[in-house]
Symmetry: C2
């Protein structure tokens, strides 16, 4: 028994020893993993690193300002509001920072004034009535404000303001201070909030600014680019055409462009957030104040619709490889039955050589099946692209873009879109507030010709769609 105990102790200590021994290794692995993730997050968008440094700088600035020169009754009660403001208000984009600053400022003022009024009213009712009246108003305003946050419009733009309104109103109305004392406090608090907010806004706008509007524009443009990449790559993949050097079509080893469109499917929430923030932003780059950001959302909806169709196309082509065998057999059986019917139909009217027809029918049935489905989905895609072009034209009209052409010729059955891009081009290189124009080029070129394995495709030549 003693030996057992000794052995157990020994085993126990060996376990501890092993654990301690492997600990540095484990820590090293974990640290490497975190470093790898950190590098990825920073690499995905280097502006994140700059933003973090900006927040650190703003907070240090405002903290030390109040630490070195404490105002009135010491840092604790007042400088706190400046720190609060910086931490809560400083967001990634200028629009988001402005949204929160404005909401915080106006809500504080409004709720403060209302709070003073309610407190004055309550104080008229004596010691017994006061808490009842205060409680009543806090309840009513908190409940209605909370409910108002469920309105989509308020949720999108004024959510933070409503929160600060409830907070400030509750604090002021039940603070127990007299009105003159409150006004003095309010003055000090508002000035510290304003200082904090101003520091955030200034750093946000003048130090490597991140504009939500510009991001929205780029997001929509890059989504369009992804669809174009797919359609370009799809041509090479599906029709197996390579080496047309004039059109820049070369075989690509990297197939990732065929999956790029998938990210387009999930950008709705991101687009809406950016559009809401962009609404607050002053003019910047090629965009004026009150640029028609909402129109980007409409374009985004149409782009996603097109991406769904591309997804259907992609799924169809993959399903040709992956369809469960039982389905394939069923389809083939049905085809075979159809073939027999047609045959029998002909047999009644002709006495030709049946064996000669058979390969032709086989070809006709299986090859038209694939081509017609693909053509049908491509037709839907073309329709979507027409709609996208219309909505971009509408945008250029609303935003007073110059130099927008709209030519869309649909005389030929289109198969492939070769390139799509939307870019704002500032006038003459200078950023001097001049007008700007948008160019979207959608080049379409047929890769579907009898030589490329599709004997039923019409002979279409290359065509350009400039919109």
């Amino acid at each position: 028994m003693e030996i057992d105990q000794k052995n157990q102790e020994k085993t126990g200590s060996t376990h501890v020893y092993d654990w301690v021994k492997t600990l540095p290794c484990k820590i090293k692995t974990k640290a490497l993993e975190i470093a790898k993730k950190t590098k990825k997050v920073g690499k995905d968008d280097p502006r994140r690193i700059i933003h973090s440094l900006k927040v650190g700088f703003a907070l240090t600035l405002v903290s030390l300002f109040y630490y070195v020169r404490p105002l009135y009754n010491g840092f604790g009660s007042l400088g706190m509001w400046a720190v609060f403001t910086v931490v809560v208000v400083f967001e990634f984009s200028v629009g988001a920072t402005l949204c929160k600053s404005m909401n915080r400022g106006f809500a504080t003022m409004l709720a403060g004034a209302l709070g003073v009024g309610v407190q004055e009213l309550a104080s008229l009712l004596g010691d017994k009535g006061e808490p009842i009246v205060l409680g009543f108003f806090v309840f009513i305003l908190a409940a209605t404000s909370t409910f108002s946050r469920f309105f989509p419009h308020i949720k999108a733009r004024y959510d933070y303001g409503v929160l600060i309104f409830i907070l400030t109103f509750s604090l002021v109305s039940i603070s127990g201070y007299r009105a003159d004392k409150i006004i003095e406090l309010a003055h000090q608090r508002l000035s510290t909030i304003l200082l904090g907010g101003a520091i955030c806004i200034i750093i946000s706008i003048f130090v490597c600014p991140v504009w939500a509007g510009q991001d929205l524009h780029n997001l929509v443009a890059s989504n369009l680019e992804k669809l174009a990449s797919f359609l370009e790559g799809f041509g090479g993949e599906y029709f197996e055409v390579y080496g047309d050097e004039d059109s820049g079509m070369v075989p690509k080893e990297d197939k990732s462009f065929l999956l790029g469109y998938k990210t387009v499917l999930n950008t709705k929430a991101n687009e809406e957030t950016l559009a809401n923030f962009a609404w607050w932003e002053p003019g910047h780059g090629s965009f004026q104040f009150r640029h028609p950001w909402k129109q980007y959302l409409k374009i985004g909806v149409l782009i996603r619709k097109c991406a769904y169709q591309i997804d259907a196309l992609s799924a169809y082509i993959n399903s040709n490889i992956q369809t469960p065998t039982e389905f394939k057999i069923k389809i083939q059986k049905t085809m075979h039955e159809n073939e027999l019917r047609i045959r029998q139909g002909f047999e009644r009217t002709s006495h030709g050589n049946q064996n000669d027809d058979k390969p032709f029918f086989h070809f006709y049935t299986y090859r038209e099946l694939q081509t017609i489905t693909v053509a049908s989905i491509l037709m839907d895609i073309i329709k979507s692209i027409e709609e996208i072009s219309d909505s971009i034209h509408e945008l250029s009209h609303q935003a007073h873009f110059k130099n927008v052409e709209k030519k869309l010729s649909l005389e030929k059955l289109p198969q492939l879109l070769h390139r799509g891009s939307v870019k704002p081009v500032s006038d003459g290189g200078g950023g001097g507030g001049g007008g700007d124009h948008v160019i979207i080029e959608v080049h379409e070129k047929s890769l579907d010709s009898p030589e490329n394995g599709n004997p039923h495709a019409p002979n279409t030549s290359s065509r350009d769609v400039v919109l």
Copy 2:
């Protein structure tokens, strides 16, 4: 000139008079509009009204508690934290409230302790070194914390905690108080925060609770239901079959069920938010603590994939009506060319009566085009439904649901899914923590038969898929 001025004044006063006269009418219209919107927001989800009342109640409670019995040095500095906590922490669902409370509590403690440490360290370095060390730490921690908020995992679950961490650390480290004073303050603050948080959590859980987990489950189930409604309705619309009373198929006047699936396309963000909040929730209803909520997200992805395919199907069917005429002509021309080729092929081998074949060829070409495309998309849909059924089976396995059957017979070419539902059924009616089971019924029945205008469809009988 005098007359002009008088006239202008008169016109001006008339304008003001008109404005004042129409003002009550305008106010009335606006008020009615707001009342209408309010009614809609409340009707869409009556739990919103209850939530607003709950917040009002919690805030009034905590406010008056500190107003009537001010602790230590008066309400202003301490009760404030309880009000803060209630306003910021009380969210719509139990999970969201727990998430914020926990984040706030732990972040405050951690940052407070770290702040005291840093301040002690800084005080060792004398008056000149102190602000430098403090500033350095505030900068480093604010920047790294802000950067950490870009990590998706942290963003989803601990975003608020990181915010509170920066806030508290900055406040404590630069407060200028000595450590013993800080510990006293921290004790008071933490207790007020705990009180505020506890009130929120208790009211949130025990007064008409809104469970994010239950909502997620219902959302996924209702999405599945919407797909089923479409497929059921689509049968009636596309194959024009009515009046089969045995199967419950009756002509529906309301076509809204054909559009219901569209809302499914945009529930991704909502599902992710709910899953994140559900992670914090204790066991409730039929769900245990640590229910595999992540699996719902996987099911959600597959449901959306299926909805995209339904969208493609819907778009294809609509495009049959709406395709621009020029495309139709092109397609018809291509078809005609193909027809001629086939004809010529037969002419070479036979000398039958051409006029007799023509109608048959027309029929074959235009009718197989539609049917094959629809069949191909339906095949993809069936494949998606198989995937959904697999992932639901995986969920039932992970969640230890009882009584789950999986039967999926795909012997026959499926055309229509008749009904789909996922519902958790608690064991024996009592909510006593017993196991629960999920039943998903997907009944499929063919409406595609030779009598219904599709001569190439195989004869399929009704079949059930229970998974």
